[in-house]
């Protein structure tokens, strides 16, 4: 442990909060030797520089809501905790833009923005997520139908590279095509390319009124027809969701005057005994129950096949993305078969399935990522950002290091 003590000292020299890791802080069981919690970009850069000098493998940690996603790291010498990097940097409401540090919890950001009647149009499926973690995992919820995922809303990003250099891309204006958009590249990169420290988002006004129109559906065909009716209509839904078992729910947002008429139109489109309400239906914006979570890419026409294959613990969004849950205690071979079946049916629709989290036995039995079309290219990009393979090694597709 002599090296470790030396590393601790070196880190302490650049960062105010450094300590040895605790066993319960393991990332999917891989215990970090050290934990550093920088409180500024400078400190974060210092930490990363030291890590580079000492060859430490680094795993970033935000709100710990998705630390169990993906594969366990091959090594974890240093956990970089971003939760002290939680400042709101700038909210220029007139420009509908906000900049925040990576460790800021999404809910807190939402509160601040709401004071000025604005919001970041991203749902937070897991309470406690941070800004940085949301970007790193490309997390989104029902609103993705209209607003997309973090890649559509991040307009500027500051990262600390593996070598400790601070780099920025984008900026604080919505319209900007100067240089490569590293913001989009970092969305969903699971901490393998660099440490996200600051992000700038474009914002939207909080709608004056909202309504949910829901309908119980009986079977894949009805679900499909209800969804198609709304997708191809001009009601301009903010979200179209299927919530298993058997509910199609549509979120409408806008001015109060217009909303009731749009809601009635939508109810008509959904058919059956659609109901209009002011509150989200049960399960709205949550992942399906279970201890295994499978993320599926399933364009609208794949919905019937998805439902026929996946059973009841399914949620799906009109933009062609969904989740499937498997209950605790499911034997690994059940998971393997389900995953295989999903990949078969979804593959025909140019979709796919990826395991986000699973109990260890399942995780070890399945091919979590499935086929990755441009893997060789991804490895080359990773090699550039992380030539020494120290950033969340092994956590990501193809065991990329």
């Amino acid at each position: 442990m002599a090296t470790s003590a030396k590393a601790l000292d070196a880190l302490a020299a650049v960062c105010g909060d450094v300590r040895p890791g605790e066993p319960e802080e393991g990332v999917l069981g891989v215990e970090p030797a050290l934990v550093a919690a920088p409180s500024s970009v400078d400190e974060a850069a210092g930490v990363m520089r030291v890590a580079a000098a000492l060859g430490l493998a680094v795993v970033p940690r935000g709100g710990e809501t998705r630390l169990d996603w993906g594969a366990p790291p091959a090594r974890c010498d240093l956990l970089v905790d971003t939760r002290r990097l939680d400042a709101l940097l700038e909210h220029t409401s007139g420009d509908l833009v906000v900049s925040a540090q990576a460790g800021m919890p999404m809910e807190r950001l939402a509160e601040v923005l709401a004071e000025r009647g604005q919001r970041l149009a991203l749902d937070v499926p897991l309470p406690g997520s941070t800004v940085g973690g949301t970007i790193a995992t490309a997390a989104a919820g029902p609103l993705r139908t209209l607003y997309g995922t973090p890649r559509n809303l991040v307009i500027g990003l500051t990262i600390v590279r593996a070598d400790g250099q601070v780099a920025r891309s984008g900026g604080k204006v919505v319209k900007n095509v100067a240089g490569y958009d590293l913001g989009r590249l970092f969305c969903g990169s699971f901490g393998t390319l660099g440490l996200i420290v600051e992000a700038t988002f474009r914002l939207h006004p909080v709608p004056a009124a909202r309504a949910w129109v829901t309908r119980d559906v009986d079977g894949p065909k009805q679900a499909y027809e209800a969804v198609q009716a709304v997708l191809h209509s001009p009601v301009a839904a903010s979200a179209v969701e299927y919530i298993g078992p058997g509910k199609v729910a549509v979120l409408l947002e806008g001015v109060p005057d217009g909303l009731s008429l749009r809601a009635r139109t939508t109810a008509g489109l959904l058919g059956g005994d659609a109901e209009i309400g002011g509150d989200p239906p049960a399960g709205w914006g949550r992942y399906p129950d279970g201890t295994t979570l499978i993320d599926v890419t399933a364009p609208p026409t794949a919905l019937p096949d998805l439902l026929a294959t996946a059973g009841t613990a399914v949620t799906w969004n009109g933009d062609g993305h969904g989740h499937v849950g498997l209950p605790a205690g499911s034997p690994p071979d059940v998971a393997v078969r389900l995953l295989g079946a999903l990949r078969d049916v979804l593959g025909a629709h140019r979709g796919g399935a990826v395991v986000r989290y699973a109990p260890e036995d399942v995780r070890e039995a399945v091919d979590a990522w499935g086929p990755v079309p441009a893997l060789a290219l991804m490895r080359r990009v990773k090699d550039q950002f992380d030539p020494d393979h120290r950033l969340s090694p092994g956590r990501f597709v193809g065991g990329i290091r």
């Binding site: 420009d95 920025r168 900026g171 900007n176 095509v177 989009r184 990169s189 191809h232 499935g370 290091r401």
Partner: protein, 494 residues
């Protein structure tokens, strides 16, 4: 009438290019390789004519396999190559290399698939932007990115430039409407990059990379439902400041218009001269505001917008009663660039972005710049997102005028940077603005961006010299490493 192989004409070419031309001719066959100098010269520039270079060879492939074959031949010969769509770019992104190959996609223009149930279409890169919309309009859909050049620019070019238009305020840019791209990588492989697949979002960085990361040969685009209704108004103000107040008020009220466009007095004058758009006389600025969406929603917000314009001092407001009147309102705005030619022999179209709230200060500074230098500047802009298009006017017959205009144009970019904006909102960096990149980004920023470049194109043959002022040395080429990585198995330092 088609010309056959014209290799005999390739006199004076250097031997590497001549051999390459022969190889390409064998590979592609037919009339797909151009080496005649007169023909080659017609490809010497894109929409930005002050940068010119006659390409060494032009090829007109008509499939992804052919593109991949050409790229592989270029790599083998160590010759740089540049992709070109319709050649309307305004930053010299498609500026050819005299020592290289220009790969033109204008014959790859098939719409391969229209999939309405999934709200998407698959097109070849040479398909014209507006043709996508034309193909799906009857189904109630359209392709949302609407650069003013949409009648001719290619979807491949849109992908490369991450193009947007007046309506991207609400609907976003090309990046938000492309679901997947088939790409010929700089090593000649054909790969599929998808927005929603496992692994890195390489598509996210490919879109907007200005053709420096590979050539897209097939694009899956998202189709957008045609809104139920569209309402457009034209408001005339005495001054730009008053117009700016209206914009702030509209945004502040929580309205997200489909578009908010502003023109100043000088650009109005030009538009009148060109297309008789009959905007209200005496206007110091006109504002075009368009709302679209579900009828009840638009109706309610439109009333607010009208009121806010009046409160901000609009002295005349016109509301388009039908499509014809809407077209009339837009006519002046859409013709503005070309129209400036009527009031000035030459001009530079600048493209910069500022935070919208900085609009009054920046416009005042531009006015001052113009007054100091005696160079006239007409302003047209996407006011909703702070994207300015100052048109810097000069007389190319007057000695030194071009240089002075260039100076003012550059100073405007400095203003944008100073106010936390960007040196380009839609036209891209290309060759034209590469030298401004260090003013906006640090060395580390640029170096980091180029790490992506090195990952994709370690050999640096794919559209070199664009976007970045100085290339990054990619060092050893990590991608081609065979066998276990040197660090493999040495995980634990402790």
């Amino acid at each position: 009438m088609r010309m056959l192989s014209e290799l005999e004409d390739g006199e004076g070419m250097d031997s590497v290019l001549r051999t390459l031309a022969r190889d390409l001719d064998v590979l592609l066959g037919g009339d797909r390789v151009i080496t005649d100098p007169v023909r080659l010269r017609t490809y010497e520039c894109d929409g930005l004519t002050n940068h010119r270079a006659t390409p060494g060879i032009v090829v007109l492939p008509d499939s992804a396999e052919q593109v991949a074959g050409v790229v592989r031949e270029c790599v083998r010969a160590g010759v740089p190559y540049v992709a070109r769509g319709s050649g309307t770019g305004l930053s010299g992104g498609a500026l050819p290399r005299t020592d290289g190959v220009l790969i033109v996609t204008s014959r790859m223009r098939r719409i391969l698939e229209i999939d309405i149930p999934n709200q998407r279409a698959v097109v070849e890169p040479g398909v014209i932007n507006l043709d996508v919309t034309r193909a799906v309009r009857a189904d109630g859909y359209y392709f949302a990115p609407d650069p003013s050049s949409q009648q001719i620019c290619s979807v491949g070019g849109n992908v490369a430039e991450n193009s947007g238009g007046a309506h991207c305020l609400k609907y976003g840019f090309t990046a938000h409407h492309v679901l997947a791209c088939e790409v010929v990588t700089p090593d000649g492989e054909i790969v599929e990059l998808a927005a929603d697949g496992p692994g890195y979002d390489l598509l996210g960085v490919f879109v907007g990379a200005e053709g420096t990361l590979g050539i897209t040969t097939k694009i899956t685009v998202r189709l957008t439902r045609v809104p139920q209704t569209v309402q457009t108004l034209l408001a005339a103000f005495e001054s730009i400041e008053a117009g700016g107040r209206a914009v702030s008020a509209i945004i502040g009220a929580g309205v997200v218009p489909a578009a908010i466009e502003m023109m100043d007095a000088l650009s109005i004058e030009a538009a009148e001269a060109a297309v008789n758009c009959a905007y209200p006389p005496g206007a110091g600025a006109v504002l075009i505001v368009e709302l679209d969406g579900p009828e009840p929603e638009v109706a309610a917000q439109f009333a607010d917008v009208e009121r806010l314009c009046r409160d901000a001092g609009a002295f005349e407001i016109r509301i388009a009663a039908d499509d014809a009147e809407r077209a009339l309102i837009w006519k002046g705005r859409k013709s503005a660039f070309a129209a400036v030619g009527r009031i000035s022999p030459a001009y530079i179209v600048q493209d910069g972005v500022i935070p919208r709230t900085a609009l009054p200060q920046v416009l005042a500074r531009i006015d001052a710049l113009s007054a100091e230098s005696g160079v006239r500047v007409a302003n047209v802009f996407h006011a909703g997102d702070g994207n300015l298009h100052p048109l810097v006017l000069f007389d190319d017959a007057e000695p030194g005028a071009a240089e002075r205009a260039e100076e003012v144009s550059g100073a405007i970019l400095d203003l944008c940077i100073e106010h936390g904006g960007s040196i380009t909102g839609e036209h891209g960096v290309g060759v034209d603005k590469a030298r401004y990149m260090p003013r906006m980004f640090t060395e580390a920023d640029l170096d980091t961006m180029q790490m992506v470049r090195c990952g994709f194109d370690p050999g640096g043959l794919c559209n070199p010299g664009k976007v970045f002022p100085t290339p990054r040395l990619c060092g050893e080429v990590p991608g081609v490493r065979k066998g276990p990585h040197p660090f493999e198995g040495k995980a634990d330092l402790f």
